[in-house]
Symmetry: C2
Amino acid sequence: MRTKKEGRRQALLDCARRIECSEGVDGINIRRLATEAGIAVGTVYNYFESKQEVLFALTEDFWSGALEEMQDRVSGGRFSDQAGRMISFLRATMHDCAEILMRSLHEDAAEGRARMTSMQRALKGILIKRLEQDETIRPDVWSEAFTREAFAEFVLANMLSLLRQKDDDAGVFLEVLQRILYLDKRELID
Amino acid sequence: MRTKKEGRRQALLDCARRIECSEGVDGINIRRLATEAGIAVGTVYNYFESKQEVLFALTEDFWSGALEEMQDRVSGGRFSDQAGRMISFLRATMHDCAEILMRSLHEDAAEGRARMTSMQRALKGILIKRLEQDETIRPDVWSEAFTREAFAEFVLANMLSLLRQKDDDAGVFLEVLQRILYLDKRELID
DNA sequence: GATGATAAATGAACGCGTTCATTTATATTA
DNA sequence: TAATATAAATGAACGCGTTCATTTATCATC
């Protein structure tokens, strides 16, 4: 019962992800989601309160999955070493996500902002976990920096300004991520 | 032709305002607006690009009108004297608006934020005009303070936090306005 | 297995914002 | 005034998110 409900929810998310990857966020609508998942429209609302919740869950879902995998792969050694491996991992596996984020940022600032906040939450979790195990960096410094609302704005601003220069989207995204992962408190607050 | 088009647009705004006053922002919808204005649905889109533009125009419209009137009534003398008269004017005439703002802030934060930004723009204009004519306060200090994004957030935060205490809405709104009008730069930045 | 209770699934229907081919009004020219 | 061109008005139709009375499946008790 528990797993079945979770399973259906996940199936809907997978469906939504498939649509998003091929046609962007705007391609997602409840009716299509229901049809492609082989259920009725109303049933979707047994698993999600609203369309917005579907979109939020979609982002949460992606990042938690991707970051869990990353956690497995980069674990071990000092944080500074792990960070390098994180970048490599991101560079290798997050191409699709970068594209999705880029598109949503371009099309709908509010949506993009929400997504970045979600990303921030996920990144924050994994980074704090790392930093707690690393004596070379004071955990509270990172923690404080990552809880700042300004962080999401900062990321967004960076990405948007870089986007305007029409560089390669995915490449730019990864560069920004790299900057974020290496940032120290001073840079964040400025 | 010019005045006729302007007239129709204004008539639609008046209509929207009437609805808003009696039933809140959510009472406004294009179909009803068209019906009550005695025109077809599609015609509304000859005067506004979207519903959102109607709502924005509604706020702009109110503040520019009200503040123009205020400008006439409070002109003359030093700024500090004028400020007192502004408050009186606001207290006497802006009851409806306070109610509208309060409701929209309560119901939809994003909408409320947009409205506050609009209000800020209007207030900023009239305040700067005043301050330029008053040698007792350096205009650039006020100007700088009022252009800060933080200002809208500040106002919103204040109003929301005061709202939560369930005081009289209109009264609270006016108190907040009073605080805003008397604020100095230091307070805004903190 | 039969019976009742509870949870899940259903899809027609609603209200909404928006569009667009068509009609009507207004302006311009002959 | 008649003929034409341009602007404005129209409202049925579309796609969407969401709801809810009804049906179907699942579980618990005997």
